[in-house]
């Protein structure tokens, strides 16, 4: 029965986010920190509505019970002081228990139950009507990152893979097909919708829609091991035209760089075995056990939403991933200084 974080709290929090989160989210406008009660999608909004109704009822229940209890205690104490005998007319007691203990709670519970079922129906209907073709994105959970595959049932050549950051069109239902490679994870972006588990051997789906352009953060919500805490993801909502253009861009393979510094970075990447785990479309790097790095330069964050994607952070991450996220699957790659810097330049050139 939590108190309303009134309107001031989200505002203050948004203000804090403006100051600090740009570092993490890449300085875009309309950035929401994780917040269940600041919905930007229809489902999160309906859930928040249900919460506020239940909250109002909860306050009423709490106040009413506290008042009855306090009144009873005070009355008894007053009688005691005056030396009057204790008494409880049987009808009073029966009335309390039947009305207070059964009738009123049943009415409140039925109200909540009906509203809950109604909310449930409405949020589960989004994007499932006949003739609706939501954008389909497959999300596969890994310890401790998200594999994201954009699906096009009509044309498999238009499909591609990325990681940890989803881009979606504003105002259109997006169907997420959820599964997991190793253990159970849970996909959750609080401002958009509730969570859904990613379970090995099963497929779940979650349809959501974003109403306002912006970047929304979410993180894994089912304990998945040592680095459960650092398994976040970003959802960036783009205007539909921009989204379509972005999709087109993703389909282009990367040519081998000609610029000598970038070419050196490319060679460092290939020669140090990075391509055994990671892949970059258009090169011989085809690994599939670690995040896809095609268009890595576009990413806002590294290490699954943990650090801003800057040269400094990336250099530290490649040199010693275990210091930043102990227990993750990436080994440290020993490189010479020049090679490291060339690699950073190459990775950031992938855009």
């Amino acid at each position: 029965m939590p108190r309303a974080p009134a309107t001031a709290a989200p505002l203050r929090r948004r203000a804090a986010a403006c100051a600090l989160l740009p570092a993490l989210l890449g300085g875009c406008v309309g950035t929401g920190v994780q917040d269940v009660l600041a919905p930007t999608g229809p489902q999160a909004a309906r859930i928040a509505d249900w919460f506020w109704i239940s909250y109002a009822l909860a306050v009423a229940v709490f106040v009413a019970f506290a008042a009855i209890l306090a009144y009873g205690l005070l009355r008894a104490r007053r009688r005691e002081r005056r030396g009057e005998p204790a008494e409880l007319p049987p009808s009073h007691g029966r009335g309390l228990v039947i009305w207070g203990g059964i009738v009123v709670p049943t009415a409140i519970l039925l109200t909540l139950l009906v509203l809950s079922a109604y909310t449930d129906r409405r949020i589960s209907r989004l994007g499932r009507g006949p003739g609706e073709h939501p954008v389909t994105i497959q999300v596969v959970g890994h310890q401790f990152w998200w594999e994201v595959r954009y699906r096009d049932p009509a044309n498999p050549h238009r499909e591609f893979t990325t990681a940890n950051e989803l881009r979606v069109p504003v105002g259109r239902p997006v169907r997420l097909v959820l599964s997991a490679r190793d253990v159970i994870h849970s996909f959750w972006v609080p401002n958009l919708h509730g969570k859904m588990d990613l379970i090995p051997g099963r497929t779940n789906d979650l349809v959501l829609q974003v109403d306002e352009p912006g970047v929304y953060r979410g993180q894994c919500a089912e304990f998945c091991g040592t680095q459960h805490a650092k398994m976040a993801m970003l959802v960036e909502a783009l205007p539909p035209a921009e989204f379509a253009a972005w999709w087109e861009r993703q389909l282009r393979p990367h040519p081998t760089p000609v610029d000598s510094a970038l070419a050196r970075g490319h060679d460092v990447f290939m020669q140090n075995g990075c391509g055994l785990c990671h892949s970059i479309r258009g090169t011989e790097a085809h690994g599939s056990v670690a995040p896809d790095l095609s268009y890595f330069g576009e990413r806002r964050t590294i290490a699954a939403g943990t650090l801003p994607n800057t040269r400094g952070h990336l250099g530290g991450w490649i040199s010693d991933p275990q210091a930043i996220k102990p227990g993750n699957r990436m080994p440290a790659v020993p490189l010479e200084g020049d090679d490291l810097r060339a690699l950073l330049s190459y990775l950031h050139s992938l855009r």
């Binding site: 974080p5 269940v36 019970f65 204790a86 203990g101 253990v183 159970i184 051997g201 919500a221």
Partner: protein, 663 residues
Amino acid sequence: MATLDPALAPDTPAGDLHLLERTWSAPRGLGGWFMHVNHRRIGRRYIATGLALFLLAGLEALAIRTQLAVPENDFLGPEAYRQVFTMHGATMMFLFAVPIMEGIGIYLVPLMIGARDMALPRLNAFGYWMYLIGAVTLYAAFFLGVAPNSGWFNYPPLSRREHELTIGIDVWWVVVSMLEVAALVGAVGLIVTIFKMRAPGMSLNRMPIFVWSILVMAFMIVFAMPTLMTTSIFLGLDRMVGAHYFDPAGMGDPLLWQHIFWYFGHPEVYIMFVPGLGMVSMVVATMSRRPVYGYTAVVLSLIATGILSFGLWVHHMYATGLPRLGTSLFTAASMLVTLPTSVQFFCWTATFWGGRPRFTTALHFVLGFLVIFLIGGITGVQLGSVPFDLQVHDTFFVVAHFHYVLLGGVVFPLFAGIYYWWPKVTGRLLSERLGKLNFWLMFLGVHLAFWPQHHLGFMGMPRRVYTYLAEMGWGTLNLLSTVGAFTVAAGVGVFLVNAAVSLRRGAPAGDDPWAAESLEWSTSSPPPPYNFRLVPTVRSRTPLWDPDRAEQPVVVGLRDDQREALSTTLLDARPDHRVVLPGPTIIPFVAALAAATPFVGVLFGLHWVPIGAALTFLAFTAWNWPHHLGTRLEPEGGPEHRLAAAERAREEAEKARGEEVRR
């Protein structure tokens, strides 16, 4: 008015009191320490061990809160954090709450129903030893740095071998299995005791409400615990011999675990909570100086809670993608289960209303329980809703919710119970002044610690994270929460001081310091080894408040030279037959060692399973070897005296056969 003075029963000569004392007294010495079977000894051990583990789990909670107090803290590393939060949960759920509630039941139930001991004393002792061995095994692993690390819920596939090689997970399933054995035998002992050992006249509808709550708890244990044992052994098979119960690649299913685990896990919550409700009813009645309003409603509520709690497990699994229709049924059930509790809330309110409440520390804790549990119950109703749960499931909102429920519904009633029954157990009073300080620190601490966590849940903070980025803005509320946790700890510290002072120089309590209603207050504090010099009979729900208590009959014809007790019929508690209860014996301890061998041994190699099974078979063969139960003590004095005593015993037996109870 309440004491049963031997003088009131002139045909039981005072000379035999000494014999009775010797018959029921505990064995001495170090060896004797392993041979106790008396319910009060075993109950006290359960309670002391449970409290010690409560303190350990509390320290783990402080470690968790210290780590989370500020963003990106490095007080505990990620692996240490995993182990500590797992230990906190597993200790509180498996090692503290259930055993301590059973322990209190084991201590109090025979006293409340006017029995001299539990029905199955050896089994009872065996249960305690299994519990202790389990607890020691778990904490040995913790101190060796290989504690279980995947949560008290231990979901596969994370807990399968390919993801977690650590022996900690094996320790988890082994210890849990042992603890379930302990809980089950404890529950069986309680059920048999409650059904068959009640004082004549204490029909089921005259049982103290606390005894009802223990009965409901025990039945829930019998129905819930075997499923957990089964599933943890499935997990053991997966890990040790490569079975595929939970392996998606081998046609297994990780969700199977969640269904079975929560089929146990949800009732588990009520297993801890129902005895708390029973304690609250006792304290409310005594402190209001009138019987609880609506006895029948309260008892039926307890039973309804016990039954309904088996139909809620899916509300832990809304986010696993189960079919919507099914989940809405569980929403309805989750809301329904609050009704029995709301009935009890209003029965207690009506009791206050028509009573003359005394604001003792125990009553403070009851009122604290009402407030805290009400909040936890309300958030519980909210969590029953599928859409809302999808948002806050596995966030700190849920952490706040169940800490409100468990601190409110288990710890506060437990403290109410401790303040209430402490004088009976120790013979000394606790300081009311320190008690109030204890209460206020804990009451304020709970809100400070857990209220902010509701907000953290809304702000998107998931559970079980060892750290969070400074930019998330969760720092302030987490710091508040940590301060609250330390405040609760300070409250517990005050309790420890209060307890220590009381033990050293507390004021003597007398038999019945609260002028209470139920039979345990009719005997001395602490009770003698045989509980009641004269086994009482009962005519009402509040025997000690009967105006003609002193004239009521007592049971005669029980032998003083062996541990004899009266067994009564199940419904009406009519005298049925006399049973001889076993006296001190080493067998339960040996049997527990043997029975623990396959469990603990399997951590070191599969070959220990057959060896342990063989040892267990031998131990239980010895247990069941035909022999006389206990030892008959010789009456003191010469042969003549002995003859006279035997003669009298025979007479009494005949008399008892004809007319067990003087009416």
